[in-house]
């Protein structure tokens, strides 16, 4: 199983759109991806895919499962969009730290252990996620906390969108310190599958910064503000946006789609997964036959 979190300390570098488009790219190739976004704020991955309408309702949600108080089965949480299974975000995520702490105190009063950072992993394992899915993608928020810790604990591998700027560089350095501390704290081994520069305008400064990145950079995504804004507007992936909402196809946008396809193949290959029906990279009309 391929598992990763898209993570960067800097906001606005395309973490969520990278996670969303990679998930669709995996699905296009015939793999079954599960996406677990964990952003406590609005404007998140559930919003991008238009499955966030219940986030303020008192419905069963991931947080309830993480504190061992589910109101239903895990599979009932899941919504499917563009071939991607998603566990929608819910406003209870804002108080995740508090909920986990309370449950931990309670457990310890009863003489049990409760790992605050291992609960997402427990929920996914108990739900049989490794048997049912080929890919697990977590999209945690940029801030340090139980959302991020649970995501990293459940995936152990990272895909790091990087803005090639001084700010982006500082964010990657900060991430180093953070993950090193996290590895030590929870005694797990975290790897970086890829750094994904986004918003690349090919300036000399940007090229210098990319040269300093010591992780594999399979693709460099150029500035595609209009495409990405369009995705948010129409609440869909870049693939669907170009296919259904662009009156004419632009070569440079098709190339960006091809990059997401190739990036997905790269990540799959890193853990030895071969997609059953990979598209020609960037072929928006490619369809996956599902049984």
């Amino acid at each position: 199983m391929l598992t990763y979190s898209t993570y960067s300390e800097a906001g606005g570098v395309g973490k969520t759109t990278t996670a969303a488009n990679l998930a669709v790219a995996h699905a296009r190739a015939g793999l079954k991806p599960l996406v677990v976004p964990l952003d406590p704020q609005d404007g998140d991955l559930s919003r991008l895919f238009g499955v966030d309408e219940q986030r303020t309702d008192s419905v069963d949600n991931l947080v309830r499962h993480m504190i061992r108080r589910p109101n239903g089965g895990f599979t009932d949480l899941i919504r499917t969009v563009e071939g991607v299974d998603i566990v929608p975000e819910h406003n209870m995520l804002s108080d995740l730290a508090e909920f986990l702490q309370r449950e931990k105190d309670q457990a310890e009063a009863m003489g049990e252990a409760f790992g605050m950072h291992a609960q997402l992993l427990r929920v996914l394992r108990e739900a049989g996620v490794p048997e049912k899915y080929d890919v697990l993608i977590c999209d945690p928020p940029a801030t340090e906390g139980p959302h991020l810790y649970n995501a990293i604990h459940a995936t152990r591998s990272l895909v790091i969108p990087v803005e090639p700027s001084a700010k982006g560089r500082a964010a990657v350095e900060g991430l180093e310190a953070l993950v090193a501390g996290f590895e030590e704290q929870l005694n797990i081994d975290v790897g970086v599958l890829a750094a994904v520069p986004t918003g690349f305008k090919n300036t000399r400064d940007q090229r210098t910064i990319l040269d300093e990145i010591d992780y594999p950079i399979p693709e460099i995504i150029s500035e595609r503000a209009s495409l990405m804004e369009g995705c948010w507007m129409e609440q869909c992936s870049a693939f669907e946006y170009v296919r259904d909402h662009r009156s004419r196809r632009r070569d440079y946008e098709l190339e960006t789609l091809a990059q997401f396809d190739r990036l997905a193949r790269h990540l799959e290959a890193e853990v030895g997964i071969e997609a059953p029906n990979p598209p020609e990279p960037g072929d928006v009309d490619h369809e996956v036959l599902t049984v």
Binding site: M1, T3, E108, G111, A113, F114, G115, M116, H117, A118, L121, R122, L124, R125, V129, P130, E144, H153, A154, T155, R156, S157, L158, V172, E173, G174, E176, A177, L178, V179, A180, G181, F182, E183, E184, Q185, L186, N187, I188, D189, V190, G191, V192, L193, E212, I213, D214, Y215, P216, E270, V271
Partner: protein
């Protein structure tokens, strides 16, 4: 940039990893009795809160970052090497793993008690120099 390895991390769903094993449970505290603890054991209703205070930090926390603020640390190469050597040295002395985070804070704490030596170090780096 170094530190995290390239490629995939470990398999989070590998069978040999029980979910809770990564965080020490409270029963590890038995090795940490302190002399005061026996004095106060007669008061059962306050015992749990007192005990909490007496358990050494290493055993009380869920992970090394607990109760600590994150401070980024930038080290010159030779300092990093010396730190690594010190870590190995302490691991030999204690015959157990020593957390780098713990070592670093210990070094800072001890350093804070030796400001004169720290001053020498800063002077070597150019503090106190004037160019009139």
């Amino acid at each position: 940039m170094t530190g995290m390895k390239k490629g995939a991390g470990e398999d989070p769903f590998a069978d040999d990893q029980p979910v809770d094993s990564t965080e020490p449970s409270t029963d590890q505290t038995e090795a940490t009795e302190t002399p005061e603890e026996t004095d106060t054991q007669q008061e059962p209703d306050t015992q749990s809160s007192r005990q909490q205070l007496q358990i050494p930090y290493k055993f009380r926390r869920d992970g090394v970052q607990d109760g600590r603020d994150r401070v980024p640390l930038f080290l010159q190469k030779e300092t990093k090497v010396a730190e690594r050597d010190a870590l190995r040295e302490f691991e030999d002395r204690f015959e157990e793993n020593v957390s780098l985070t713990d070592l670093r804070e210990a070094l800072v704490k001890v350093g804070l008690q030796h400001l004169d030596e720290a001053e020498d170090c800063l002077e070597e780096w150019g503090y106190g120099m004037t160019f009139d």
